[in-house]
Each structure stands twice: as C-alpha cells, then as structure tokens.
C-alpha cells in the first residue's frame, strides 16, 4: 500500500510537470487564407503576377544598416496586381515575425510607388490573439493613425510594434528589391 501511495505521488508530480510543458503549446490561429488576403489587397487588378526577388549581399547590407533587420529569407515573393494595360495596381508581400509567443504573419499591400496601402494580419497564435485582437477590428485606422496611442496594454502595444515593423520591412523590401531595380512598372 505504501508503495502504491509513493507511486501515486510520483505520478502526480510528473503530471504537474506535464501541465507546465503543455501550457507552452500555442496552437495557431489562422484568420484569413492567402487567396482571400490577396483578393482583398489587389482588388481592381485584372492580371496577377508573382515576382520573386533574391537580394544581393549589398542590398541586404543596406537594409540591415537602415533598420537593424537582416533579411534572412532565400528570396522574397511579391504578388503583383496589374490592370488590363499592364500598369501595376498594387503589390502584396507576406512577412512573418517569430516571437517567443509564436509567429505573427502579415500581408502588406503596397502601391506602385511603394506607398503602404494596407495590412492584414493573416496568422498568429492562440496566445497572441487576445493581445492583437483589439488591433484587428479597426486595423487600418489603428496602423495609420493610432500606433502606440490607443490605450492598449503592454503586450498589445508590443505586438502593434511588431506588426508596424513588418509593414516597414515590406515597404523597404519593395523599394530595394523592385523599385530601385527599375522593375516597378
């Protein structure tokens, strides 16, 4: 009997450890599919193109110097919407930041001159969702006007900054990888 009680005590202690481990598993929350994000952000376009850009070491260095961020993907993919005459309507890129609470993936829409037209959070995690949720409903207005001034809690503000930095990266990548190469037309 004493042995059985000891066994139960060991099981209980290990169960608590399992609980601690399980608490760190954060399932993803997928808010919108890539196709739906693109259909919204490239609205008005009649033809769609994929432009893939592999940065030169010099371009990577220039971005790192400007922002402190080192582009580390092998290549970056822009989805470009054009009208019937072949003029660029908008371009969209999906970028992800991997935080300790899980990934935040954002689709950023840019005009032909690199102006940010909009941003959509497409994926985050169950843990980050409550922090980011206040940003999602008035998303566009928040990102353009109220970043950091909306009375969000600290985590909400932190994730607002993460999303803001992803938008800046998107703009920079389009500028360096497309506009400055003369490929924006």
């Amino acid at each position: 009997m004493t042995c059985a009680v000891r066994c139960c005590a060991v099981i209980l202690a290990t169960l608590m450890l399992a609980g601690v481990a399980a608490a760190h598993v954060t399932p993803p929350v997928l808010l919108v599919s890539d196709r739906d994000a693109l259909a919204g952000q490239l609205a008005g376009a009649q033809r769609f193109f994929v432009r893939e850009v592999r940065l030169t070491p010099g371009e990577r260095q220039a971005i790192q110097k400007q922002t402190g961020w080192s582009p580390d993907e092998d290549f970056y993919r822009f989805y470009i919407g054009r009208d019937a005459q072949g003029r660029t309507v908008a371009a969209t890129i999906f970028l992800t930041e991997y935080t300790v609470h899980g990934p935040v993936r954002v689709a950023v829409s840019l005009g032909p001159d690199g102006t940010v037209k909009g941003a959509t959070v497409v994926e985050l995690t169950e843990e980050t969702y409550p922090w980011v949720k206040p940003l999602l409903d008035p998303q566009a207005r928040y990102l353009t006007a109220n970043l950091g001034k909306s009375g969000l809690d600290a985590m909400g503000q932190f994730y607002g900054q993460i999303i803001g930095s992803l938008i800046k990266r998107a703009s920079l990548l389009y500028d360096v990888g497309v506009i400055k190469r003369g490929d924006a037309a």
Binding site: L15, H24, P27, S33, F49, R77
Partner: protein, 182 residues
C-alpha cells in the same frame, strides 16, 4: 513491478489512473483534430507545411529576380500553417517535453501491468519512439528530403497505437482482471 499490480491498487489509485488515461485520450483527440485542420493528415499536407519554400518562377541561383503570371486561383484558399525554422524549433521544444512527459506517465502506469517483460518493454517504448520519429521527421522533411514527411505520420501513428494499447491493457487490468499475477 515490485509486487504492485494495477489490479491490486486501492479504488482511489484505480480512479486516478483511469481518469488520467481518459484525460490524455481526450487531449490526443483534440490534438488530432488540430493537426487535421491546421496542417492536414497526409504526407503531402505535412510536406506542404514543412518543406523549404521553392520559387514559383524560374529564378536561378544567385542574386536575381523573376516574374510569372498566375491566376488568383493558383493561390491556396485554405488557411494553412507555414512551419518555418523558428516555428519548428518552438514546436520541437514544446512537443518533445510535452509528449515525452505524457509517454513517461503512460509508461509509469503501464509498468504495473502484469505482462511478460518483453511485451511490456515493446509497448512502453511505442509513445517514446513515436515522439522521436514524429519530431525527427519534421526536421528531416525540412532539411534533408521533403518526402520524409511520411515519418511524421508514422511517428504520430506509433504514439497513438502505443497510447491505445497502454490504455486498453491498463484499464482492463485495473477494473476487469483478477488479482492473479505471473
């Protein structure tokens, strides 16, 4: 083991083991549903989430760019998890800890069943091996050869079979077997 057998546990011990096994089963079902909706349950689904992203255009090696016309229908309309290296590291550390602890607790209960040592060793190893094959398969898919995504399915199946055997045998010995031990 050490003269203690599941069939000889007091009612509180039997209840504890039973509820734990049922709870883990419910958790496993929820995990299965999550895997099915977020990633998919076929090797090709796993490969699509884990394998390195390949260019859609005919972009060569080295600094360059390329463009290709697509139809908006070519883009996935299903929300899918893109598991890149940082997320793979995060998933590996949580699942290796979590699943190994679950396998350990299941094994701890199972050690007190009255089975031959060889059979017991084989069954108790299944959830551990399944976990290693599952997580190892993810890394091999990403960095070695995408078709190795089949290992992720094999690993998950081994874990599930191990859990099912451990639970069925343990519950049978807890509540239905008589107290006669080999």
């Amino acid at each position: 083991m050490y003269g203690v057998h599941l069939s000889g546990l007091p009612p509180s011990g039997k209840l504890f083991c039973t509820l734990f096994l049922i709870g883990i089963g419910c958790g496993a079902l929820a995990a299965f549903a999550q895997a099915a909706t977020a990633i998919g349950l076929t090797p090709s689904d796993v490969q699509a989430s884990l394998a390195p992203e390949m260019p859609m255009t005919h972009m060569g090696h080295g600094p360059s760019s390329a463009e290709k016309e697509i139809s908006i229908g070519d883009i996935s309309n299903t929300a899918r998890v893109w598991m890149r290296t940082p997320l793979l590291i995060q998933t590996s550390h949580t699942h290796l800890f979590g699943q190994t602890l679950i396998a350990g607790l299941l094994g701890l209960i199972f050690l007190f069943t009255s089975l031959r040592e060889g059979v017991k060793a084989l069954i108790v190893a299944l959830p551990f091996v399944g976990t290693l094959v599952d997580i190892g398969g993810m890394w091999l898919t990403r960095f070695v050869w995408p078709p190795l995504s089949a290992l992720v399915i094999v690993g998950g199946t081994l874990f599930a079979v191990g859990y099912a055997l451990i639970t069925l045998i343990s519950l049978w010995q807890l509540w239905l077997a008589k107290e006669a031990h080999p």
